[in-house]
Amino acid sequence: MKKWFALIVGLQVLFLAGQMAHYEMRLASGETLRLRVVPYDPRSLMMGQYMNLQYDISRVNPGKVHGAPQARTDADDLTGRVLYAAMRPGAPAARAEGFWLDRMPPRKPGIVYLQGRIVWGHDAAMNVDYGLERYYIPERRTREAAELEKQLASASRKPVVTAEVAVDSRGRGLIRRVLVDGKPIGY
């Protein structure tokens, strides 16, 4: 019994270390994209405080998605499907050049493909999650995050908020940092 116990515990530790190494590798080797965001901060039971990031590519017109069947006009038909956003990196944020359904199109120079999943849709628009919608904030910095949210809601000149994302060869993104007017926030 002791042998099996030690083996299972060892595998648990290996899994944790492997998971961390996997994410570190993706951060280090991924192509860089900056995505324009609109943050706000709800609370997650499991992971504490986070900003919920919505991007300008989070809402997509189904008519502009390559590979979507012509007969289907209702965006609900595409719920749950994988979508790739073709992004051209630039300043202050990357620009979407098009969207592809299910499969990543052949690579083009200067274009980074970002993978997402269609989670909700109606009529002329659908919502896409890229797995980049949460940015966790240390508990003691939540007041600063709330200030930032206030600025976004009320200031006459709204700050430009972007998320710097590492994108791997399969199109999976991972947030490196969040920037306000090009300057990284300190948390």
Partner: protein, 446 residues
């Protein structure tokens, strides 16, 4: 002479013929469902045959185990909350290293105390439980450190629960620990639900009830499988309660949902749902139901081929009931899908609701009866709680029409009293067929 020493002498001492008889008989009583394993241990302890434990030390041991488990839950929750506060000052690698060090220390200290040295079994098991909670906390800490999102492309948030489940389930079997199984099943259920919510955010209530009924049947049938295997491998029997209880919770919950007035029509917002429009989606909804039928058929076959005793007929009845409930889950799915576009006609809706209520009542009574037969107070309480909630819900449903509600309650009450009368009559007939024991038979025990 103390009471225990006196009792030990009466039983012939720990190695006498009476001691052997008592040990053999208590094992038989447990397997026949007359007494619980803990009660058997208490009886043996009374005669000094429980490895030096007395009834008092056994009670303390049980109390220590409960306190230890509660303590582990509190410490685990505390560490999860501390980690969730997101320490920015500590580098990521160090943060994970601290958690891994705590996890390893908790696991191995617990194992040493509970299974190797066996001096502090309650505290030791609680520490191993804490290790499992810390493993889960570490998974979510990594998710937090790398800003892993919920319903992203790879469903990564949900995957955390899956890995927690996959990491702790083998421990439950290696250690034969119901506590570990509770953690594993809780994580597994969270995984199934978070994946489900991510993919089927608008699943209609009828379909969710169908799926939950199938899932509950699957868990209950796995529980029965463990119970049957328990006679050959007693370590497995200790785990059956967790499967059965969670399964019963899902079955009762699903039937409770079906006892309401449902539309039996696909809402417009869910018109393009992939789980309904694709065969793969439908198969994923029916997968637990199909698995429940397969496991129950296996249970039936094992029950029929391996056991001939009277008491094992109940096993076959349980497996049969699980198959019927799983078929009901498939029936609910078929009924909804076949009428999803135009909706069920009004009398059909009323009939579905009445059937849901009658079935819920039947299952509540069956759960209470099962709990009594197995001497599992948890199942009895669960059945009574479900009955109470069911009764209160229907009471408030019909509050405007007291007369109809009252008549319905009277009708249901007459059915229950009638059932009790029939059962009592059957018992009396059985007693009359038995011949009174002769004085010689009375003295069968040494």
């Amino acid at each position: 002479m103390s009471e225990t020493e006196d009792s030990k002498e009466q039983a012939g001492g720990p190695h006498g013929p009476s001691a052997e008889w008592l040990q053999r008989e208590t094992a038989a009583w447990v397997s026949e469902g007359l007494i619980r394993a803990e009660q058997a241990e208490m009886l043996l302890a009374r005669y000094g045959m429980a490895g030096g434990e007395s009834t008092r030390t056994l009670r303390w041991r049980q109390m220590a185990a409960v306190l230890g488990a509660l303590g582990a839950l509190l410490i685990g929750s505390g560490i999860i909350l501390v980690m969730a506060s997101n320490w920015e000052q500590i580098p990521r690698v160090l943060r994970l290293a601290i958690l891994i060090a705590f996890t390893l220390a908790s696991y191995f200290a617990g194992y040493y105390l509970a299974y190797e040295k066996k001096t502090y079994p309650g505290v030791g098991k609680a520490l191993v439980l804490l290790g499992s909670l810390l493993f889960g906390a570490s998974i979510f800490l990594i998710g937090q450190m790398y800003h892993i999102s919920g319903a992203g492309g790879a469903q990564e948030y949900s995957a955390g629960f899956f890995w927690w489940f996959a990491g702790t389930l083998p421990l439950a079997y290696v250690l034969s620990s119901p506590l570990q199984l509770v953690v594993a099943l809780a994580a597994g259920t969270m995984w199934v639900h978070s994946t489900w919510i991510d993919r089927c955010w608008a699943l209609p209530a009828e379909l969710y009830c169908s799926w939950a009924l199938g899932f509950g049947c699957l868990l209950a049938s796995i529980g029965l499988m463990h119970r049957m295997a328990g006679s050959a491998r007693p370590r497995l029997a200790s785990l059956q309660k967790c499967y059965t209880t969670l399964g019963v919770v899902f079955v009762l919950g699903a039937l409770y949902g079906l006892s309401f007035r449902l539309e039996w029509k696909l809402p417009s917002y869910a018109s393009g749902m992939s789980v309904l429009s694709t065969p793969g989606g439908a198969a994923s909804l029916l997968a637990p139901t199909i698995a429940a039928v397969l496991v129950s058929v296996w249970n039936l076959w094992k029950g029929a081929t391996e056991r001939q005793e009277e008491r094992e007929r109940a096993v076959e009845a349980e497996a049969g009931a699980t198959i019927l409930l799983a078929l009901l889950a498939a029936g609910v799915f078929w009924l909804f899908v076949s009428h999803s576009s135009r909706g069920l006609f009004a009398p059909g809706i009323a009939l579905a609701r009445i059937s849901g209520n009658v079935l819920l009542l039947a299952v509540e009574i069956a759960v209470i009866a099962l709990g009594w037969r197995r001497l599992e107070t948890g199942l009895v309480n669960l059945g009574l709680l479900a009955f109470f909630i069911h009764l209160m819900t229907r009471y408030f449903d019909v509050f405007g029409t007291l007369l109809k509600g009252g008549l319905a309650f009277i009708g249901a009450g007459i059915v229950l009293v009638g059932g009790g009368w029939l059962l009592e009559s059957a018992r009396r007939r059985l007693l009359q067929t038995m011949t009174p024991p002769t004085p010689g038979q009375k003295e069968a025990a040494p």
